[in-house]
């Protein structure tokens, strides 16, 4: 047994500090009364007030949430189908190729994905007249493509653990394959779908590169707005926004892992 001496404790603390001190500083600075980032001007909710009167930031945030919601949902649907086909349809022709192509967006540089999607949308507009211009639609489509890869991986690993015999049992009792999928596979897959959706939501929400390629006028996502603002100098209301987001995400993750932990204990009882 490894002795957890002072050194190990110190290294663990150092690692955690390395990860969280920047975020902590940003959160503290969001309550800074001063306009200058580097000077502490007393505790204040001033920037939160500023934030809620900054329509540009709020609109961008709302747009990002909608984009993330749509593309995560789309990604979960497509990713689940892809994951299901890859685990349950046996060794069909082209399976390896398909598995590779589903996972490829994970390693594809975002710049390339963004550029190729932009070219695709331009060409499509020329040939079939859709999508007209660059808008929220193009961003959602683009985000769904790379988020799908993550969902497919999550679903695939969950399905691989699950016993295919349950679906056979449902079919044996008279359920058509699609019905067996809805009644048996989907409920058991639910935890994977939820985590896949959350993962896709997060990925979409903080994507900057691909969005920059495929967004049009009037459809700037939050990361794009923050990035362009920061280039002109850090404004403290961005800190306030970031603090709210971290609080929100932190709460979600806490609730989710607490419930997942409870479910796990329930299964261990079985």
């Amino acid at each position: 047994m490894l002795r957890t001496g002072r050194f190990v404790t110190f290294m663990a603390l150092a690692g955690l500090m390395y990860l969280y001190i920047p975020i902590f500083i940003m959160m503290v600075l969001s309550f800074n009364g001063s306009r200058l980032v580097s000077v502490w001007g007393g505790f204040s909710f001033k920037w939160y007030g500023e934030l809620f009167s900054n329509d540009q930031l709020l609109n961008a945030a709302w747009l990002s949430i909608r984009v993330a919601g749509f593309s995560a949902t789309l990604a979960v649907i497509l990713g689940t189908l892809a994951g299901y086909v890859l685990t349950r349809f046996g060794p069909f022709r082209g399976r390896v190729l398909m598995a590779g192509m589903v996972a490829a967006p994970l390693v594809m540089p975002e710049v390339i994905t963004g550029l190729s999607l932009l070219l695709l949308f331009v060409a499509m507009e020329d040939f079939i007249g859709w999508p007209q211009g660059r808008s929220i639609t193009t961003i959602v489509i683009s985000h769904a493509t790379f988020c799908m890869a993550y969902v497919a991986i999550v679903v695939q690993s969950r399905l691989a653990q699950m016993d295919g015999v349950l679906e056979e049992a449902a079919q044996d009792l008279g359920a058509r394959p699609w019905r067996a999928f809805i009644d048996v596979t989907l409920p058991m897959l639910a935890p994977a779908l939820i985590s896949g959706w959350l993962l896709a939501f997060t990925l979409s929400f903080d994507d900057l590169v691909i969005s920059s390629f495929v967004s049009g006028p009037g459809s700037s996502t939050l990361p794009m707005v923050i990035f362009s603002k920061v280039r002109l100098g850090v404004s403290p209301d961005v800190n306030a926004l970031a603090t709210i987001l971290i609080g929100f995400v932190g709460t979600c993750v806490f609730i989710y892992s607490w419930r997942a932990g409870r479910r796990m204990r329930m299964c261990e009882d079985a």
Binding site: V165, A169, A170, D172, L173, A270
Partner: protein, 376 residues
């Protein structure tokens, strides 16, 4: 051992067989999992498919259920050709080896699932589920989830779920495999009771010969994708067609012997392994001088201290080891020829005075109807 008589045994009736497996073969790539199996099963029969792992018994069962399609041949159930009929449209239900209960549904929802898919009216579903749970004695557990049940209880729920649709044919894949020994024995008899109560045709797949012997009215032994022998438990035990079947079902001593006399009523074979002559009370269709295989079950041999009259069906030896099993004892006897054979004797008396001990010099003797010459 008493066995149930086969309700409609082979050739017992001229009626159309209920399940007809017509020369089916199943290949997975280059391997042949099921090799030209031809088998008829009668209505209300409890048929056991017995075989080791990789013998093709599970593949055959999956073809009956509709999860695999035969590469050649066809299956008829109740006169209906099942070729191309998917699992969800077959009048067949299966009880899976791992039970495959839906973990997110309660016991009663599990049992009701098949009826719901069949479009049965709500009130009738409730009644039939309750009745079926009563039959398997799980009425008090209707609202439990599968993970709150013991192995034996899960097995009952799986059985109820498979039977509630009143299938024409029920397939059971190692139904008792996951239960401990004591529970198995109780469940075996319950399974038989339920089967005769409902009159459903059962096909049971198992690798456990005891399970097959107890349950089956008829059984088939599979080896390397082929059906080697079909018959009642007694036929298979007393008249195995080859060494594989003889060894697979029960313990056996196998000998090689040369045919020296062959008459319609009896035959004599000289055996180098026992150093004597076997006299069997049945004719053998062979040529004199031919080497044949003989099977002699351990319980059909007697041990005596004094040399018996006659030179046939006897072999002298020394007791090597004794395993005391309570109701009987297994003796390992080293014959003077060096060959080890097994003998089981019932422990009739409690007093120890007469008991054999290791090292005792004994004569193994058996009757003319004890040994059987194997056709292959």
């Amino acid at each position: 051992m008493e066995h149930r008589s086969a309700g409609a045994g082979p050739g017992g009736s001229a009626a159309e067989p209920f399940v007809r497996i017509e020369v089916i073969t199943k290949r997975f790539g280059a391997t042949v999992a099921v090799n030209r199996i031809d088998l008829d099963i009668q209505r209300s029969e409890l048929f056991c498919l017995l075989g080791g792992s990789g013998s093709g018994k599970s593949t055959l069962l999956r073809m009956l259920a509709g999860f695999e399609q035969p590469s050649e041949g066809r299956i008829l159930i109740d006169g209906q050709d099942m070729t191309g009929v998917p699992a969800y449209e077959r009048p067949v239900n299966m009880m899976f080896q791992s039970y495959a209960l839906f973990p997110h549904m309660s016991v009663s929802d599990n049992v009701a699932y098949g009826l719901r898919r069949g479009g049965v009216a709500r009130a009738e579903i409730r009644k039939r589920v309750a009745d079926m749970l009563d039959i398997v004695k799980m009425g008090d557990y209707a609202q439990r989830k599968p993970h709150q049940l013991s192995g034996g209880q899960r097995q009952r729920v799986a059985l109820a779920r498979a039977l509630v649709k009143q299938p024409k044919l029920l397939l059971l894949d190692e139904p008792l495999g996951a239960l401990d020994k004591k529970l198995r024995e109780e469940t075996q008899f319950e399974l038989m009771k339920i089967q005769s109560q409902l009159g459903t045709t059962f096909i049971v797949v198992t690798h456990d010969q005891d399970e097959a012997m107890t349950l089956a009215s008829r059984m088939g032994v599979m080896q390397d994708g082929r059906l080697v022998q079909v018959g009642g438990p007694r036929d298979l035990y007393e008249f195995p067609v080859n060494r594989f079947v003889a060894r697979f079902i029960g313990a056996v001593n196998l000998f090689e012997a040369v045919l020296i006399e062959d008459e319609p009523g009896h035959a004599r074979l000289r055996c180098a392994e026992t150093g004597g002559v076997f006299h069997v009370s049945h004719g053998v269709s062979g040529t004199l001088g031919q080497t044949m295989h003989l099977a002699l079950r351990p319980e059909k041999i007697n041990l005596i201290r004094d040399k018996p009259d006659g030179e046939e069906n006897v072999a002298p030896g020394v007791i090597d080891e004794i395993a005391y099993l309570g109701n009987l004892s297994v003796y390992q006897v080293r014959l003077d020829t060096g060959r080890l054979i097994h003998v089981t004797l019932p422990n009739l008396d409690r007093h120890e005075g007469e008991a054999f001990e290791a090292g005792n010099r004994v004569f193994c003797s058996w009757g003319p109807a004890s040994a059987v010459v194997l056709p292959a």
